[in-house]
């Protein structure tokens, strides 16, 4: 499976035009919800929880919200967004009648949505900074590429669910069985090391957990275990490649058979 850079560039330009028109909707959808979570939990719950993992609760929470935000954005984009494009307006089919190929389309969907989710990460960090909740600014900046890659990984997984959305699967299932469990059990809101043992084991199946293992120390300005980071990166890369190929094959069957 080879990708065509000119094809992907042409598609990215198309997405960018759509993005410019809908920038308000994207912005509010992506940013506001996350910021509200951050402020409500950080300020509200933060009062009750004095310290966690050696820092203020709101400081602990900031990288968690950042790492988790892409889970939602990518899940909606790769299910609703994608099914709109190949079942609703059927524009994928119009693209496939040109030299653009399925793999170019799938990768472009992931890259575009990853890019569009990135400003919301930056804004979240800026808000957190004003709440004095970003101990290491350089760590936060370094965490951005990690989170961008993580968003690609989340998207490649939910892309597999986009194939079935509308036909046999509802978004509620995706949300109940994948998005929410990952968000709640990966340690966004609490220190997973303090959680019951079964939960610590359970957390391992979620990419978000592995992402947080790298991102939280970065943003808190703590040393990152490089060996651990390398393992996380390898695992996430493998997940990405496998999920992408699976999604490609499923879409190929769905569209061409």
């Amino acid at each position: 499976m080879f990708f065509s850079i000119p094809n992907i560039a042409a598609l990215m330009n198309r997405y960018y035009i759509e993005y410019r028109q809908l920038i308000g909707a994207f912005f509010f959808g992506d940013v506001l919800e996350r910021v509200m979570f951050f402020i409500a939990f950080g300020m509200g719950l933060g009062r009750a929880v004095a310290q966690i993992d050696g820092v203020d609760y709101i400081t602990f929470l900031a990288p968690g919200i950042a790492a988790g935000s892409g889970v939602f954005i990518m899940a909606v984009a790769t299910t609703y967004g994608v099914s709109n494009r190949y079942e609703g307006s059927a524009i994928w089919q119009s693209w496939l009648a040109t030299p653009v190929r399925l793999q170019d389309i799938l990768l472009s969907e992931l890259i575009f949505n990853m890019l569009r989710a990135t400003p919301s990460l930056v804004i979240l960090y800026i808000v957190a900074y004003f709440f004095d909740a970003v101990p290491s600014v350089s760590g936060a900046i370094l965490s951005l590429p990690v989170l961008m890659f993580a968003n690609l990984v989340y998207g490649s997984i939910t892309l597999n669910m986009g194939v079935y959305l509308g036909r046999m699967l509802y978004f509620r299932y995706i949300q109940a069985l994948w998005v929410m469990p990952m968000y709640l059990f990966s340690g966004v809101f609490f220190d997973i090391k303090e959680a019951p043992e079964w939960m610590q084991v359970f957390a391992n199946i979620f990419p978000l957990y592995h992402v947080l293992e790298v991102v939280r120390p970065l943003v808190l300005g703590r040393p990152v275990d490089l060996a651990q980071a390398l393992i996380s990166f390898t695992v996430l890369s493998v997940i990405f490649v496998v999920a992408f190929c699976l999604a490609y094959n499923q879409f190929k069957k769905r569209l061409f058979d």
Partner: protein
Amino acid sequence: MNIIHAENIQKSFGDFEAVKGVDFKVPQGTCVGLLGPNGAGKTTTMRMIMGLSSLSAGSLKVFDTPVDKVTRAEKMKIGLVPQEDNLDPDLSVRQNLEIYGSYFGLEKSFIQQQADSLLEFMQLGEKANNRVNHLSGGMKRRLIIARALIADPEFIILDEPTTGLDPQARVLIWKSLLKLKDQGKTLLLTTHYMDEAQRLCDNIVIVDGGKVLDEGSPKELISRHVKNHVFEVQKPVPEALQDSDIDHEDIGDSVLYYVNNPDKVKHLLPDGITYTQRVSNLEDVFLRLTGHKLRE
């Protein structure tokens, strides 16, 4: 040279065979019409040609290349007007052409030039900056045809380009398709309008139930199946006519008689019989071959 050469192509969806072994050719520079009732397998066949649907069996060559090996350069030479309107809802009329052109990797200046001339060709200039969901059905169809022409293709596939349009819009589209033919383009067309097929197509392939029933030029098909004249005689049909060996078809309330020489029927019709007589056309061939029963 044949732009398309299909031999025994088949397509199954699960247990259902939509295309059951179809053979046809599209010679360069001609317009071939694929005619058939709803569900005949026309769209499926066109999708297979575009590589949008895999073949279950058979051999399909596009520009002499097996369809699954078609190169980028060859793909650029094909323009598709799909049956369903799949314009990009987030783009303007002009953007629908220009952005589509970018998927072919064409030079920006070439695309802009093409977009300008196609907007004029399809009489969409005034709407260039409108969003596409504000267009009428006829304008959408014209824009989709313009879009299919953005890369200046040699071969254009049109799946029901005029279905649901008013007569003015149809005539406009016919004119533009005839212009394309004059430019030497090759066309493959499906339509439910037999006058359209008769006007535009050099060769016609009639399909039904996923099989080819017959093919030939409109003239050949007419003389082969319905002669030159058709008489529709209300029942009860006079005995002399019933006993004759004239080619005919019972369609319920009346019987159709096909003859080259109208006098042959006329002298068998006593006064007071209700009948109509006309020069036969492709519609008669179509109904004769595919039957008069309603589909889907």
